[in-house]
């Protein structure tokens, strides 16, 4: 914190982070803090109850690139839905930058989702009625951001994702990989606290997947974007710095990439998956 105070009058947090990287001092800002999260499905009047998430505790810090893996039915989608405010937990709390999102109500909830979270979906979820550019700026437009700022951010993000030359096209005129990068741009343009990606490579071929993951990796690296990615794909997960495994609604294990190469990390992931007994097709 001393470092922070020393620079607080002249420099932004981003600069401090850069500085801290240079000096080797790490400042950890908690982006996501989940405590005793529990989600139980089932009718109020008895009947069969199903525990989708069971007492999960998790912390994600600023600038992390985290993958959540687990076999089908392990609860990873429910987990993501709760974090993205789409679903409400049965008990426990989800704090994003200190705000408990489980207690937010409309319309604050929508505003929160739009400004603090960025989403990347498996099926892109771009609007056919809008050009790529309009799709990307939509969250900023809705928040009534000044036009100049919209323009600079758009330029910045589209260069980073390599989609500057398709901005005026419609989604049906571009490839799947380009669509997903546009969706990533839309998620990032608000500079959210955290980007939530749900199987972002699920609908892409391997080349497009690599391009997208490379982009996400570099955004995480250079812009300190915090990314939380749910995935099936061990290869995609190998781009992350940390992987959390979920099984039967519980945290099973977590591993850090550390200084390992991606290849080593990938092997490590496969090993753990085989222990969990995840989808065998992931092993191919």
């Amino acid at each position: 914190m001393a470092v922070y105070f020393a620079f607080s009058y002249t420099k932004s947090v981003k600069h401090i982070l850069n500085y801290s990287k240079l000096t080797g001092v790490f400042i950890m800002i908690e982006v996501l803090k989940i405590e005793n999260l529990r989600k139980i499905y089932g009718s109020k009047f008895g009947g069969v109850k199903y525990t989708a998430l069971d007492n999960i505790n998790l912390k994600v810090e600023n600038g992390e690139f985290v993958a959540i893996m687990g076999p089908s039915g392990s609860g990873k989608t429910t987990f993501l839905n709760v974090i993205s405010t789409i679903d409400k937990p049965t008990s426990g709390s989800v704090l994003i930058h200190g705000d408990d999102i489980t207690k937010l109500k409309e319309p604050n909830l929508s505003k929160f989702r739009r400004e603090k979270l960025g989403f990347i979906f498996q099926d892109f979820n771009l609007l056919d009625t809008m050009t790529i550019k309009e799709n990307i700026v939509l969250p900023l437009a809705l928040s009534k951001t000044p036009y100049k700022l919209i323009k600079t951010r758009l330029q910045d993000i589209s260069i980073k994702l390599g989609i500057s030359d398709i901005l005026s096209k419609y989604p049906y005129e571009v490839s799947g990989g380009q669509k997903q990068r546009a969706a990533a741009a839309r998620a990032m343009i608000t500079e959210p606290s955290m980007v939530l990606a749900d199987e972002p490579t699920g609908a892409l071929d391997s080349k497009s997947s690599k391009e997208l993951l490379g982009c996400l990796e570099s955004l995480n690296d250079k812009n300190k974007a915090t990314i939380l990615m749910v995935t099936h794909d061990s290869f995609a997960a190998s781009y992350c710095k940390r992987i959390i495994f979920i099984k039967d609604g519980k945290l099973f294990n977590e591993i850090y990439k550390g200084d390992r190469t991606r290849k080593d990390f990938y092997q490590n992931i496969l090993k753990i998956l085989s222990v969990i007994g995840g989808d065998t097709d992931d092993l191919n």
Binding site: I86, E106, P107, L109, S110, K111, F112, R113, R114, E115, L117, F119, F121, N125, L126, L127, D128, T129, M130, E134, V137, L138, P139, L140, A141, L142, K144, T145, Y147, I150, Y170, R186
Partner: protein
């Protein structure tokens, strides 16, 4: 499951989309039945008396209803089928043949139309008496209405709607047979791909403004003087309106989409993109709605405007309560003897005037013919009795005042012109000081245009003119015209026809019958157009909502709140509903200007009331559509 039970199921399931179509069809059947039953109603014929020939109005009204219903059903059917192509394709994929699918569609049409037909006829039977009584009230007639079932009307409705049913079934079958399975599946996808704006669009936009502008200019400036221009003006405005929607509005949307600075602000981005994307599919509908709304508003404005001004019109046409050509003094005696027996009325003023026939060139058209001459003091005296307010003040012997009765509008260019009145072989050179159209006696008596001259000039002409070139007219102003019915009946029996007895009351009663009928027809046509246009737009928007549901789910996922979605949708619908209505209202106001000049009444108030009432009813359709749209797009998730 048989095709019939399937068809029934489909109708039940889709009723929330079809109800507006159903309502409008029912109303068409109802209105047609009602009109035809009035045409064939013997009671109504008796009440119309000598105005019986105007029953044709109802026949014309029936044609309008039948024609418009046919158009409406065809139009609705074609986009209902379009929206259901995917459903049909699914049936075929599951093994139904094209023939079976077409049969299914046929059965569905049969059930819907038969149901609409039966409810329309049922409504017709139930409310027949009520509406005929309403017609009586509007016509100023009294009397009881008996319950009648008109077989003739039933037959006409059956033929008209049967024919429509056959036509739309063939049309539907054709649409189903025409396409391959894959085309049916993709039809909704390829339907709309955003609007394209080119240089041509710009030219057409300019053209639409030119058409509308020139049409408006002619309507305001030229039509009143030359009614023959009306068809050209109507054509200009209709084409202008259609072009306006096909190009000008697309240009506006295109420009607002290109203007990023204002576009990237709040929900505007959402609804402008939606309008842009959906434009091609909606533009035809918008033009149709603008044109039909214009027709409905204009028709109602004329009918109700005239209806409301019936008395004023009769006062203009019959300035005196009783008026006749006075041959000998015996005529006056007949009048006085008759009125003695009628204590309910009394004479307030009696005026007798003598017109002189002279020959001259028409100051407006230049043709040679006969004209009438009256003196200034007599004219002013009558004028003050009738409270018309026109007072003539001629400065010298050479001045005269000219009354035009030939065209719809006063031609002011004649002021200052010289006229030469020929009496026998003597000429009187006069100069027109002023001109007007409002007259002091019934036009049937003063069948020629008239010059008002100084008393001295008048007596000079009179002294030289022969007896057969003069014409004496006597007019009475009664204390209460509306009690004069019996008196007039008596007087008519006693007075010979060559006296040409004309009365205010008869004119008023006959006008009221005519105007009442017109207002009645106008009411129904207006309502029919309203329900039809409302149903078209409702159906289109419901289809759009169902197709675009996915978009709204995406919007919600990325953090667009429900109030924001509501705002975007209500603005989009506001533009789609509002634009045709605003254009139609402007067209109607423009039509109002020459109409007021021609009719010489101020019906602006009536026009505004009609537009407001129509707007209120139309907004009900807007609100229902909005509610349904929001419900559809936010139903899942």
């Amino acid at each position: 499951m048989t095709l019939i039970s399937m068809a029934l199921n489909n109708i039940k399931k889709n009723f929330k989309n079809y109800w507006a179509f159903f309502l409008s069809s029912t109303f068409s059947v109802f209105a047609l039945y009602l009109f035809m039953s009035i045409v064939n109603n013997s009671d109504v014929k008796v009440h119309l008396g000598n105005m019986k020939s105007f029953m044709t109005l109802f026949i014309v009204g029936s044609y309008m209803i039948a024609g418009f219903s046919a158009f409406f059903m065809w139009y609705s059917n074609s986009f209902i089928i379009k929206s259901r192509k995917k459903e049909f394709a699914t049936y075929m994929l599951l093994g139904m043949s094209k023939k079976q699918t077409a049969t299914l569609n046929f059965i569905e049409n049969l059930i819907t139309i038969a149901f609409a037909f039966c409810s329309g006829i049922a409504l017709g039977l139930i409310f027949n008496k009520f509406f005929i009584m309403l017609l009586y009230a509007m016509m100023g007639a009294t009397g009881d209405v008996s319950f009648q079932i008109s077989l003739e009307a039933l037959k006409v409705c059956f033929i008209v709607f049967g024919a429509m049913f056959i036509i739309i079934s063939i049309h539907g079958a054709k649409l189903i047979y025409k396409d391959n399975l894959i085309d049916l599946f993709n039809s909704s996808k390829k339907a709309e791909k955003g609007l394209k704006v080119s240089f041509l669009t710009l030219i057409i936009s300019i053209l639409s403004i030119v058409f509308l502008g020139y049409g408006y200019y002619m309507a305001i400036r030229k039509i009143a003087a030359n009614i023959l221009l009306a068809p050209i003006v109507i054509l200009l405005v209709v084409i202008g309106t259609i072009l306006f929607f096909t190009s000008f509005t697309s240009l506006i949307i295109y420009i607002s989409k290109k203007n990023e600075k204002s576009l990237f602000k709040g929900t505007k981005l959402i609804y402008i993109s939606q309008l842009y994307y959906r434009y091609k599919g909606n533009v035809g509908t918008l033009s149709v709605i603008a044109v039909t709304t214009t027709v409905a508003l204009c028709a109602m404005m004329v009918c109700f405007g005239l209806f409301n001004k019936t008395e004023e019109n009769s006062r203009n046409m019959r300035p005196f309560s009783i008026e006749y050509i006075n041959g000998t003094n015996n005529t006056d005696k007949t009048f006085e003897n008759t009125i003695k027996n009628h204590k309910e009325i009394s004479v307030v003023y009696k005026d007798t005037m003598e017109f002189l026939r002279v020959k001259t060139k028409d100051p407006v058209f230049g043709t040679y013919g006969t004209f009438l001459v009256l003196n200034e003091s007599k004219f002013n005296e009558i004028s003050s009795h009738e409270k018309v307010g026109v007072k003539i003040n001629l400065k010298n012997d050479r001045d005269c005042y000219f009354f035009q009765i030939v065209s719809f509008d006063t031609d002011k260019s004649v002021i200052g012109k010289d006229v030469k009145l020929e009496v026998g072989n003597k000429d009187y050179n006069l100069k027109i000081a002023d001109t007007d159209m409002k007259y002091v006696i019934a036009l049937e008596h003063a069948d020629k245009q008239t010059f008002i001259v100084k008393d001295s000039v008048y007596s000079k002409i009179k002294s030289t003119i022969s007896k057969e070139n003069t014409c004496k007219v006597t007019g009475y102003t009664l204390n209460n015209d509306f009690l004069s019915q019996n008196f007039i009946k008596d007087l008519k029996n006693k007075m010979p026809p060559e006296n040409k007895l004309l009365t205010f009351y008869e004119h008023f009663a006959d006008s009221l019958k005519l105007m009442g009928m017109m207002a009645f027809i106008g009411l129904f046509i207006g309502l029919l157009f309203l329900t039809a246009t409302g149903s078209i737009i409702y159906f289109k928007m419901s289809m759009e909502a169902a197709e675009d549901k996915n978009k709204f789910i995406i919007l919600k996922k990325i953090g667009v709140s429900t109030p924001e979605i509501r705002k975007a949708v209500s603005k989009e619908l506001m533009i789609l509903f509002g634009a045709p209505f605003v254009v139609a209202s402007i067209n109607t106001f423009v039509a109002l200007i020459p109409l007021e000049k021609m009719l010489r009444f101020n019906i602006t108030k009536e026009c505004i009331i009609i537009i407001l009432v129509y707007a209120v009813l139309y907004s009900i359709y807007y609100l229902i559509t909005l509610k349904s749209y929001i419900k559809i797009v936010s139903s899942s998730y």
